[in-house]
Symmetry: C2
Subunit: 426 residues, 2 copies
């Protein structure tokens, strides 16, 4: 009943109405709903309001609201968790090597190009600052792409699996490069106090081994949890226990990933979904339950919050040219890096473009990397360029994907997924 | 990915597991699940941990966590909203006068007894401090009772309707008495800047009229919203739009109630549910969708948060005797006040006891009233007595209600409510 919380209820109400209305509008225009969610966030957030009226969003300060942050975080966790639940592990096994090479190419190209761009535009800065511009460009934020592919019914296709696998590997590579770059520059980039304790000198090799240890832990614990769930499922089938315990496992995986192993929490949530997806008896049931909660409330809030976080007030003209070059390079290097390699692996031009475009979106990881680098390596005013990259790539990815999938029939039977089927029918 | 948010993911995971496990345990013991949720909150919150190890809850500071607060607030809003959706307006109309008299008696008796208790134990304080002890005792927190009645399948009985109606009226009376008491003592108790603006001198009559204006507004706006929803329902039946817009209406009603009219946000959410329940075509569908989100995630979090907020560290021996008397009087006066009047209205002894016991629970309203009074009228150390009242009454209400409904068959067909039916079967 604290006033801040009551204001938050208003914000939630406005977010739900505006995301739904703009989601419907996007569908009418033949665009993905998720794009409407982001645009709704831009409309109610500070981006326009602070320029026009010098206020932070529609009626109440919203961009730094801790309550909204919690809902948005749970939202992205749920999006990644359900994506994990819908993953076919055999597909990842089959595409693993290919995805790794595609992800590696999609990381190294932006890294090199970004470093060059830094040297070109910011010659007065040193090598580590240039390198950091490259590091910011590396991390794909797959949440939007996952959502678009899901809406299009393409998440469980080969292209969808390649994108998902490559994004996970990309995330791991990004973490490794960030920790290596920051340890070379003499600071720690990881967010895990455990890793800081066992690796006080930031030796890159220890960080990398520790990240790999997460996957060993996740799979090991997952086998035990799957057995436990199967036993519960046997004694009390289809009660609400399994979905609730599954959500708890997802949340704990997310926490342990980031806090113990220094891996992004969204990666932890995705891996939790993959681990639980092997329990075929309950995976679909859990997925349906989580999907309802997620899609009614959390996913719109997460995607709106991306729009809400966007602000142009730091943007000045001298930054603008650099910003434009930065955005163009960041997007092109992912398309060339991932799409080019896909073509080399024998994918059609259209499928290669889909994979490349599916990897262009940057999000919270890029913003967090920026925050880590600002005190040490780059100016605070360059925050705006990363915001612009997030905005443009978040808007471009769904539009381009939609275009690339135009005139293709939905390959997934809708009846298999009644909740999502319903969304399609709206 | 902020560390605070990541810690919150851990807390959420622990809350979900512990509430579910203790909920199952309570069911095995023949007690309501909701009691297990509260006990889970006590176990993971500071109550025990700070006494034993001087830490605030299990592993992370939890009791003042803003993220948890947001989820808990949405939780209680959803509990009240679904209660409103399940309300039969005709029943309230039929029981309105009776409920009003029962609520009035259940407000005046604790008010008088609390004032007397203040005079007895705190003679050095003045009349307004004594009165304030009484004011704290008045507000019933009906969330727990609603949940227990729902679990027992008794929410839509005559006793259930009387309790719901009386609790709403009780809330309104409590707000009126609080604003009158505080305005007599020379300060403003309402949380609405609008009311403060139109009533700068805190005239009680203006406050009361303004509270009544909320109900006029709520019903007027509700008629328009219902018409709009019926039109949407006609063009696109059973899509996810209606539940989402309904949740948004609930959130906005909660906000407007508290921010504009100075009425508790939970009252606003309940009224939103009542208004939308008149749209019979979609009310059940909306109820089911909200109930899934609510019962998987939000309701356990809200009830756990009550347990988590409890702390005994302020409790000293000289406060203890007063505290015991305060708790006993507060509980007995509700039972006598509401139960006695029910008996006078011709209810059986058992039904009268059910109504009386259904009104004993105190919650966040009592705590907020206390916070308002502490700077002006009472010592901060008396905060602990209100916490004790919340604890004892929150635990006692479900246990006593369960006992009073023992050996009675469930009168609601489970099939009518598949999600709740499922909970019953667990």
């Amino acid at each position: 009943m604290d006033m801040g919380v009551v204001d938050f209820l208003f914000q939630l109400g406005i977010i739900l109405i505006s995301t739904k209305l703009l989601g419907i509008l996007m569908r009418k225009l033949g665009l993905p709903q998720v794009l409407g969610f982001i645009i709704a966030g831009i409309l109610i957030g500070p981006a326009i309001w602070e320029l026009m009226f010098d206020v932070d969003g529609l009626m109440f300060p919203i961009s730094e609201n801790p309550y909204l942050k919690a809902f948005a975080e749970v939202g992205v966790i749920f999006v990644m968790f359900t994506a994990g639940l819908e993953t076919n592990l055999n597909d990842i096994k089959n595409t693993g090597k290919m995805s790794f090479v595609i992800a590696l190419s999609g990381v190294l190209l932006p890294l090199a190009a970004g470093t060059g761009l830094g040297a070109l535009f910011l010659p007065e800065k040193g090598f580590f600052s240039w390198l950091f511009i490259g590091v910011i460009m590396t991390a794909t934020s797959v949440g939007i792409t996952v959502e678009v592919l899901r809406e299009l019914g393409k998440l469980q296709t080969k292209v969808g699996t390649i994108i998902m696998s490559a994004a996970i590997i990309d995330d791991v590579l990004g973490i490794i490069i960030l920790s290596v770059a920051l340890s070379l520059a003499g600071t720690s980039g990881n967010t895990s106090p455990v890793l800081s304790a066992i690796n006080p000198n930031n030796l890159p090799v220890v960080s990398v081994l520790w990240i790999l240890a997460f996957f060993v832990f996740a799979i090991g614990a997952g086998i035990g949890i799957s057995k436990l769930f199967k036993a519960i499922e046997k004694t009390t089938p289809h009660t609400r226990r399994i979905p609730i315990f599954s959500i708890a496992v997802c949340l704990l995986y997310a926490f342990i990933a980031e806090k113990v192993f220094g891996v992004a929490d969204i990666t932890g949530a995705f891996i939790a979904g993959v681990v639980l997806s092997t329990n075929h008896a309950s995976a679909k049931y859990v997925d349906r339950k989580v999907t309802i909660s997620s899609y009614v409330l959390f996913a719109p809030i997460f995607f709106a919050s991306i729009g809400i976080k966007i602000s142009f007030s730091d943007m000045s003209l001298d930054v603008l040219w650099f910003a434009l070059a930065f955005v163009v390079v960041a997007i092109l290097m992912k398309i060339i890096g991932c799409g080019g390699l896909s073509k080399a692996f024998g994918f059609s031009f259209k499928d290669s473009m889909r994979i490349g475009v599916g990897m262009i979106a940057r999000g919270e990881v890029a913003l967090i990397v920026t925050e880590k680098g600002i005190p040490l390596l780059i100016d605070a005013k360059y925050r705006a360029i990363v915001v612009l990259l997030v905005l443009v790539s978040s808007l471009l990815a769904p539009i381009l994907l939609k275009l690339l999938y135009k005139n293709e029939k939905d390959t997934l039977p809708l009846a298999q997924h009644p909740e999502l089927g319903e969304a399609h029918l709206e």
